[in-house]
Amino acid sequence: MARTAGRLAGVLHRHPRLRLTLLLTAPLLWLAVLYLGSLTVLFVSAFWTTDSFTSQVVKVWSTDNFHALLTTPVYRQVVVRSVAVALAVTALCAVIAFPLAFYTARVAKPRWRPLLVVAILTPLWASYLVKVYAWRLILSEGGLADWMLGPFGTGGPGFGLPATVLTLTYLWLPYMVLPIHTALAQLPSGLLDASADLGARSWRTFRSVVLPLVLPSVAAGSIFTFSLSLGDYITVQIVGGKTQLIGNLVYANIELNLPMAAALGTVPVVVIVLYLLLMRRTGALSSL
């Protein structure tokens, strides 16, 4: 037994290619065949059509779905709305994350900093659904939002598009805080001192030294906030009222018109890839 194992070990040692093959066979079967295979079939099926009587998929090549996607006003509205929501969430996250990260990285006492980072990270691990549910509780009629805003003569925003943006911002905020915190923490103090020696005040230093150096990290964080918001359809079902985003359209089409659902599904994928390419020019991908 030990001898065979020893001989096998020798064979493996002398043949790195064999070792590599053994390492990669199972993962490649899983990822390349199962996963990429299903994805490819899905996107090919976007070019098929559906028999409108039987809801059966007809495997005839056509670009009808994409034509419908580009010309139907409802689809266009929803796509624009979804991208706008994703951008709004990203902007809100950046605006909230910056002061927070600035505090945890440069203002707080050094020995508190690791603890503060954990404090930002911990909610990231709370269940996605529970966090959305928390906002449903806050925004529901007579909930915390109504109670807090009542004295000012208004109620909470209720369920709808603003609620969706708010909840998504809450969900993805840590993804924005973390990269900004890291970038700010790594900022050499020498640069800031030099800027001050040259006569720049806080605001000028911030604008001309800190911001340009941290911007790639904001871009890196935005990749998460943007793409996670764009693909989401659960949050909008829970707090969005009647609001429809691209994910809801995909979901609505699955049962009756899978090719259309596939065509709609390509939209977030294409937008995300474009966004990634755009962000790559800012150097965001290397600071991930």
Binding site: G6, L24, Y35, V107, L124, W125
Partner: protein, 271 residues
């Protein structure tokens, strides 16, 4: 950076507000689980542990927890094996398409869940259905494992990159064969990364809802699906409140353990 006093105070206030926004919703979930009322109106009319005992006896929630645990364990086991294999291949070998492979591993979590979900759903429909295998727990495990591979891979590959191959070479110079070097040198080096990765994978699977929606057969209800289905039912609201509160309390565990296991991998590895 020298900040003026007002700037410092403003930043402190902004940070305090930020932390409040992060934690108030979670605290609300905890308080609301003690709310005697079925509605979520604030402030609650009182506090009672009553619904905790009701939730404890709720068979639907219990069963859903059990299904989630089974799916999570299955997916984690597969992800541990596949993720580690890829990590070793990428970190210790040079081959054509290495960069592409690292990209493909991330893809299942980078693409919107609904895209992965319907792709797997239609693939299962065309491949498994003719074989007489319907959607069920098995397909959930396959779906979850697909996007869990990346967290194991990230953890293990980060560890392997930090520890050079010279330890293994030294072991072999001393007469250990490939298996012996792995068991005595390599495995102890990556053990904590495996634990952290496995834990994160389990947490990811336990929390997942979108891919689950499309890969779970009828009657297979994971905890997130159960919460989602019962969230809008006023009758079930108190039980949902308690389950949500429990999940908030439990979520502290993985981050704590992962942080302890490997400071270098825990932070970014949800990605």
């Amino acid at each position: 950076m020298h900040l003026s006093r007002p700037a410092r105070i403003a930043l402190r206030a902004a940070a305090a507000l930020g932390f409040a926004v992060i934690y108030v919703p979670l605290l609300l979930v905890l308080v609301n689980s003690l709310n005697p009322d079925r509605s979520a109106s604030w402030p609650p009319p009182g506090l009672t542990p009553h619904w905790w005992s009701v939730a404890w006896r709720n068979s639907g929630a219990r069963e859903a927890v059990w299904v989630s645990v089974k799916a999570g364990l299955g997916a984690t086991a597969i992800a541990l094996v596949l993720g580690t294999l890829i990590a070793f291949a990428v970190a210790r070998h040079r081959f054509f398409g290495r960069g592409t492979l690292s990209f493909v591993v991330v893809l299942p979590i980078a693409l919107p869940g609904i895209v992965t979900g319907i792709a797997l759903n239609s693939a299962f429909g065309t491949v498994l259905k003719p074989l007489g295998v319907g959607l069920g727990l098995f397909t959930v495990v396959v779906g979850h494992a697909t996007f869990c591979i990346v967290v194991v891979f990230n953890n293990v590959v980060a560890r392997l990159r930090r520890t050079s191959g010279s330890y293994e070479e030294a072991a072999m110079d001393l007469g250990a064969n490939t298996f012996r070097a792995f068991a005595d040198v390599t495995f102890p080096l990556v053990r904590s990364a495996l634990l952290a990765g496995g834990l994160l994978a389990f947490a990811l699977s336990f929390d997942e809802i979108v891919v689950t929606t499309f890969t779970a057969g009828p009657g297979v209800e994971t905890l997130p699906i159960w919460i989602f289905n019962n969230m809008t039912r006023p009758q079930q609201a108190p039980v949902v409140n308690v389950v949500a509160a429990v999940l908030v309390l439990l979520s502290v565990i993985p981050i704590y353990v992962a942080q302890r296991l490997s400071a270098d991998t825990a932070t970014g590895s949800r990605v």
